[in-house]
């Protein structure tokens, strides 16, 4: 069977699991005893293995398998979590990430077997034996629970005994037994001469499913469907019918040689795990309780109905919480109430909404022009207007995702930086739930990473220096995200050295970016802005963390490409903060329409501060530039008609209409002829062909079908 159609889903989910693993292992490092975390890790590793196996990525499967073994031992309490182990596990995650990256690029996992890693993992596993001899014996038993649990040692033809029951399956089976249903293990043998094995297997499945429910199969249903089995396969079923009935139903399928089966006792297979605890009287009771729990922990639904065990009171609540947010991979009947949607489909939807808004605007202006507007028509138009606005908002919301998916990899990164830079630091994150347009979230990762690395490498001082300066030895980096009006602000802050503007200027002179004379007249702010100059790097030594001089200018251009902006605040000796401001929405904005000469322009409402009526006498000259004074602020005037080469319709003696726009801390007054009004506009690109014009950020189609250009206030200031 062709699995390529699942590739996207596979990649998506693998990334999710890897991310999850990263986060969880990180928290495991903090609290090595947290059973919830260990279980979560185990689950994620297990699903990853299963997915890789299904997709036929053997190397990935092998690596995850060995990782899973380690987690399984940790879960069983045979291995204690150590720093060395965490390091190896992180390396494994990196290797897995490499596999997925390879798969994404050429649908192939690559040829790296990562043998050293597998060896290290196995060493950790063996280490468990040395450490705790008694447990080592129990370990393999625990790992292959079913065979150990089988009363008869020889599995022989009864291959269903090899099926490893997961936690949720076991719960389901127990539940079935309670309802006095039969739980049977079956092994179906197909005749050697059979050509279409998969088809036969399918018929067997179908025959059995008439009376029973198939809980598990070995190989997996997917493999059976793909004919990835030899001559037999095994099933665990729950049935209302008797074993004989089930067997004969299966035997009824032609080309089936034989079906053998027996009743299965799910409680039995659990035995070794419990025995193991008994064999460990030295351990405290406290530790035991959660360890017993894995079996009771799976999907929340299952927990709710599971037979109450003495100590389950605490675990279900925990399991539930975790389960709800992390989507347990093994959970069976959990109804997932989300849908994965291709971003392209959302784009199409968005475009249609845009068209609708344009059509609505046309209707508004048509009814105004034709003069036929009655109250009824107006009412309906207003209603339509509110519907389209909320439709737009809903579609935008659908496209919004929390930035968590991007920022959750940073704690791991900072941990690695800490080791490679030999500095102590701590990352504090807040506002991970802040939402942004999906495309923005995807793009914002790299710039943020640059900034964090920058803070870690250039910002924070070494522990000794920090001590001298009376700061805590451990440096702090903050990553804070929050919504501010129509913008989302992401701030990267550190309590390090701050930016030495003197050093920056000297470096810039050295690099020939500015002349010494220019440097003398430079304000602090301008000096800081030099950092964003292409080819600038103040690091004295090029480290592998930063200092290649490609960082900050890339950060800036990337964020500007997303119509955002970066601002730096710094104080020498106290730290610096990098503030990224991003627009909430990209496609549709509220704008102020203005008239300049005979042309109409749109200015984004987000950048407008106030609108002023200024008499010509109040315009003063400073350094031959026109300014106005507004509530103690001196604001430069920009005459749009001059910049846009338009004849103004207004007489020079008339009062000026000034739109005060804001970019960061800077203000400027744009002089326009007349205000038309506020309008919701759909941003359309001018296309590649007209890209030279920087002051125009796009165009929009007005209600009457005319095109109006959108002024980019940021480039005017």
């Amino acid at each position: 069977m062709d699995v390529s159609q699942y590739l996207e889903i596979f990649l998506d989910e693998s990334n999710e699991h890897l991310q999850n693993l990263n986060t969880q292992i990180l928290s495991l490092e903090q609290e090595p005893d947290n059973m919830d975390t260990i279980n979560e890790i185990f689950r994620a590793a297990h699903s990853l293995k299963g997915m890789a196996g299904t997709m036929g990525y053997k190397r990935m499967q092998n690596l995850t398998h060995d990782m899973e073994n380690v987690f399984s031992e940790v879960r069983n309490g045979n291995i204690t979590v150590k720093a060395y182990m965490i390091d190896v596990l992180f390396q494994c995650l990196d290797a897995l990430e490499e596999y997925t990256a390879n798969i994404r690029e050429n649908a192939d996992e690559g040829t790296n077997d990562n043998e050293p890693l597998i060896k290290q993992l196995n060493e950790i596993l063996e280490g468990a034996g040395d450490e705790d001899g008694a447990d080592a014996a129990a370990a393999p038993a625990a790992e292959e629970e079913a065979p150990a649990a089988a009363p008869a040692a020889d599995v022989g033809d009864r291959k269903w005994l090899e099926i490893k029951l997961g936690d949720s399956e076991r719960t389901v089976l127990k539940e079935a037994l309670k309802q006095s249903k039969g739980v049977y293990g079956l092994t179906v043998k197909v005749q050697e001469s059979c050509i279409l094995k998969a088809a036969r297997a399918f018929l067997v499945f179908k025959a059995i499913e008439e009376t029973s429910e198939i809980i598990m199969s070995n190989p997996s249903a997917q493999d059976i469907e793909d004919e990835k089995f030899d001559l037999d396969f095994s099933l665990i079923v729950v049935s209302d019918a008797s074993l004989e009935q089930v067997l004969s139903a299966a035997r009824g399928v032609s080309e089936i040689e034989d079906v053998i089966g027996d009743e299965v006792d799910p409680n039995q297979s659990e035995a070794p795990a419990q025995e193991q605890h008994k064999a460990e009287p030295s351990k405290e009771e406290q530790a035991q309780k959660p360890e017993e729990h894995p079996a009771e922990q799976p999907a929340p639904v299952a927990v709710a109905t599971a037979p109450a065990v003495a100590s389950s009171a605490k675990a279900p609540t925990k399991g539930k919480k975790k389960g709800d947010e992390k989507k347990p991979a093994t959970g069976k009947p959990v109804v997932n109430r989300t849908v994965r949607v291709d971003i392209e489909k959302l784009d199409t939807l968005m475009n249609l909404v845009s068209e609708l808004i344009i059509a609505k605007n046309s209707l508004v202006s048509a009814s105004a022009v034709s003069g036929t507007s009655s109250t009824a028509v107006n009412e309906q138009i207003e209603y339509l207007e509110s519907v389209t606005t909320s439709l737009h908002e809903s579609v935008m919301k659908v496209r919004m995702v929390p930035i968590e998916s991007t920022v959750s990899k940073f704690p791991r990164m900072v941990r690695d930086l800490q080791k490679s830079l030999g500095k102590k630091m701590e990352l504090y994150m807040s506002g991970e739930e802040t939402e942004l347009d999906r495309t923005v979230v995807d793009e914002i990762g790299d710039p943020l990473m640059h900034l964090l690395r920058n803070s870690a490498d250039h910002g924070l001082e070494s522990a000794e220096v920090r001590k001298e300066r009376g700061k805590p030895e451990v440096g702090s980096i903050f990553l804070e995200a929050y919504q501010d009006g129509n913008n989302v602000v992401i701030e990267v802050r550190d309590d390090g050295n701050g930016i030495d503007t003197e050093a920056v200027r000297n470096k810039a002179i050295e690099k020939g970016i500015i002349t010494p004379e220019q440097a003398e007249n430079m304000s602090e702010k301008d000096s800081v802005d030099l950092l964003f100059h292409a080819g600038f790097s103040t690091a004295k030594v090029v480290s592998d963390v930063s200092g290649r001089g490609v960082g900050l200018d890339v950060v800036k251009s990337k964020i500007e490409a997303l119509s955002g902006e970066v601002e730096v605040k710094t104080k020498l000796g106290e730290g610096s903060s990098w503030i990224i401001r991003l627009p909430l929405t990209l496609a549709i904005i509220q704008a102020l329409m203005v008239d300049i000469g005979n042309e109409k322009y749109a200015i984004s409402l987000g950048s407008i501060q106030t609108i002023e009526d200024i008499s010509p006498q109040d315009v003063k000259l400073v350094q031959a530039k026109e300014v106005i004074q507004l509530r103690d602020l001196v604001i430069p005037l920009i005459r749009l008609n001059e910049i846009l080469d338009i004849e103004s319709k207004k007489d020079s003696s008339e009062n000026l209409v000034v739109v005060v726009v804001k970019k960061g801390d800077k203000l400027a007054g744009l002089v326009v002829d007349e205000l038309i009004g506020q309008q919701e506009i759909v941003i359309k690109s001018l296309g590649r062909y007209i890209s030279k014009c920087k002051i125009i950020s796009g165009a929009t189609v007005l209600g009457d079908g005319e095109v109006a250009l959108i002024l980019d206030a940021n480039t005017l200031i």
Partner: protein, 150 residues
């Protein structure tokens, strides 16, 4: 891209008029032909870029072949049209023409290629000359027509 096909094959051209001269545009690059409409001027761009128009909700740049070729500026008449071209490299672009006349089918032996070493500035916009009943048709090399001025 304007490599003309093997002998025996035919190419269809739309014949347009700019002043007194007839030009041909390969039909495969033509997306649409619309009447002259209001063009929104875009500031700070080259003079031959007349601005943008709204074509069924899409914003499309429009250029003047006349200005690009150094002819007299366009005079809008009843027959003025905007031809919407779809080019791989440049996307969708509208060009203003005085008049759209007809569609002609030219056998490849009716097309005379123009040597590339031609020094004449105006000729560099052409990729060949077609001969048919209506006289000579200068075949436009669209890529060099829309190419940005250096």
């Amino acid at each position: 891209m304007e490599e003309l096909k093997v002998v025996g094959e035919t190419t269809q051209f739309i014949v347009i008029k700019l002043g007194d001269e007839q030009y041909g545009i390969d039909i495969k690059y033509i997306d649409n032909i619309v009447r002259m409409q209001h063009i929104t001027r875009v500031p700070k761009v080259d003079a031959y870029l007349k601005g943008v128009i709204n074509l069924r909700g899409e914003v499309i740049p429009v250029m003047s072949i006349r200005i690009k070729m150094g002819l007299e500026p366009d005079v809008e008449t009843k027959s003025t049209r905007i031809i919407i071209l779809k080019l791989e490299q440049h996307g969708t672009i509208g060009v203003i023409v005085d008049e759209v006349k007809e569609v002609v089918t030219l056998e490849n032996d009716q097309i005379e290629k123009i040597a590339y070493d031609s020094k004449d500035e105006k000729d560099s916009f052409l990729c060949g000359i077609g001969k048919c009943d209506g006289g000579l048709i200068s075949l436009l090399d669209l890529n060099s027509v829309v190419l940005e001025n250096m």
